[in-house]
Amino acid sequence: MTTTTLEGRPLTASPEPPRRRPAGRRAIAPYLFLTPWLIGLLAFVVGPMIVSLYLSMTDYNFLQDPTFVGFENYVRMFTSDPRYLASVGVTAVYVLVSVPLQLAFALGLALLLDRAIAGIAIYRAVFYLPSLIGSSVAVAVLWRTVFGADGLVNSALGLLGIESSRSWVGNPDTALMTIIALNVWTFGSPMIIFLAGLRQIPRSYYEAAEVDGAGPIRRFLNITVPLLTPIVFFNLILQTIYAFQAFVPAYIVSNGSGGPADSTLFYTLYLYQQGFTSFQMGYASAMAWVLLVVIAIVTGINFLLSRYWVFYGDGDR
């Protein structure tokens, strides 16, 4: 059940064995089952995507009819909107720093937990919990106070003899770092996927290697690492896509402004500001399409690079 996804193979439907089917009522049955989904797909996904693509080439403020402007929105983004470029920079730093750190924690903890130790279920639950609440408003509020001028972080530094009264969220140099820390804190869900992957490595491989005289380090490098690369790849793809869309922490930490000095102006936050506080809906639509294309390109590059480092034991590349 899990292998198809965990090994990163395409998730297309398995071929159906040919079977005899009475014509008539049964032939339309699948479409009856699919009707709600098809309606939803057209009304809430495909239809809006087409409209969004059109709106991205218009000047549209919601109150007046859209006016067609061609590629003007796209040109403006990259040539005369410094806040847009700032939001691209913030999001790029966030994705490039927080995803590898988060996955490193997830993998490290999964390796620690992948053995028979007492209380493993409790550890796993504790490490997983932050993933469930990491995108909640309450945790973002907590983060704002923990990294505030008189918050827990400064208290902890005080215990170490470092007096600090800086507000980590109020300082443009460190505000983004606090949100990166929040994403790293939610390493639990990739950790669970790593654990599931580690469980699938046959014990016999390790036993055979031990018989051949391979020590623990060689067993780790020559068995665990290659057999885990498909899982690393799977987590990398998913967490990168999620990270591009982070919104709540930036919104709460900065009161919706993206401040201080646009240092937490995440791409989605700027998109929200453009679309739903300034009602520049054409511009916001163009931003959304650029986001979609960038996510698609980054995912595509990841797939291309994967052939150089992802190992499929059965030779299935």
């Binding site: 996804t5 089952f33 989904w37 809430f44 996904v45 993933s131 008189d150 902890a156 591009f244």
Partner: protein
């Protein structure tokens, strides 16, 4: 043989030392991760004057005053916000279970034209950022007169728009032997009967996972309520907490109290549904 025993004794000892060291490391890490949460819970029971002067978790002079004050600190009582959130999440659970299992049955068990193509579309929509559709959806819902109602937050889910769950249930159904539904067909069950009477009871673990994740995601959802709800009496709990944080001034105790309450239903679902949650992520890589 005795030499081997002798050699084994120190080895066993070092492995015990390593084991203890690992527990110490794991406990420290776990405490470090949970400390901010525990501090928020303890602080929500403290007097405002004590919150920022005490970074410890000492359980002294605790009271529920902050909860009483916070409950009514907003334009509406938090009872209203919790009522709104429970209504929306309840509908989301029903919608996702019904619509996603129906769709999943077609993908897992039926043959139809362009099936691989539709499956690819389904998987594509899982990865689609909602920002690409949000502006036209806003225009559509505004034309329908649905702004400031719960309809934009609930109706789409009745059309299986949360494709994650379709995928999750398809994966689960593939693990169920086909003989079972073929036997049902021989006994004269039509497709809908096979789905509702045979399949649904067999996939309850997947439906439980769907219910729990539907609850947690809908409960936490902030972006869509922020866009579609502007009338305070319709606010969900996260919107109310956010407003509290923005204009609440310095009543940190009350803000923490309401933040803790807003997380409580998630904790409860987490404790009782952990098994399903962990299986769900391991199967599909959901958040």
């Amino acid at each position: 043989m005795s030499a081997a025993d002798l050699a084994d004794a120190p080895r066993r000892q070092t492995s015990r030392v390593r084991r203890v060291a690992m527990h110490v490391l794991l406990i420290l890490l776990a405490l470090g991760m949970l400390y901010p949460l525990l501090w928020m819970i303890v602080s929500s029971l403290r007097d405002n004057s004590a919150i920022f002067s005490d970074a410890s978790l000492a359980l002294r002079n605790l009271s529920l005053d902050n909860y009483a004050r916070g409950w009514d600190a907003q334009q509406n009582s938090f009872a209203t916000y919790f009522g709104n959130s429970f209504l929306i999440t309840g509908l989301a659970i029903v919608a996702n279970i019904a619509a996603c299992s129906l769709t999943a049955y077609a993908f897992a068990r039926m043959t139809f034209r362009l099936k691989a193509f539709f499956m690819a579309i389904l998987l594509g929509t899982i990865m689609l950022p909602e920002h690409v559709t949000i502006v036209p959806q806003y225009v559509l819902f505004s034309e329908l007169g649905w702004l400031n109602t719960f309809l934009p937050l609930t109706v789409p889910k009745f059309f299986a728009t949360e494709a994650f769950f379709v995928f999750l249930i398809v994966q689960f159904m593939r693990g169920i032997p086909r003989d079972i539904d073929e036997a049902a067909a021989l006994d004269g069950c039509g497709p809908f009967q096979t789905y509702s009477r045979i399949m649904l009871p067999l996939i309850t673990p997947a439906l439980a996972t769907t219910a729990i994740f539907s609850f947690i995601w809908t409960w936490n959802d902030f972006f869509r309520p922020l866009i579609f709800l502007t009338d305070n009496s319709l606010f969900t709990v996260p919107l109310a907490v956010r407003l509290f944080a923005d204009i609440g001034g310095t009543d940190w105790g009350a803000l923490f109290a309401m933040s803790v309450l807003s997380l409580l239903p998630i904790f409860i679902f987490f404790v009782f549904g952990q098994r399903y949650l962990i299986r769900g992520i391991a199967t599909t890589g959901l958040k």
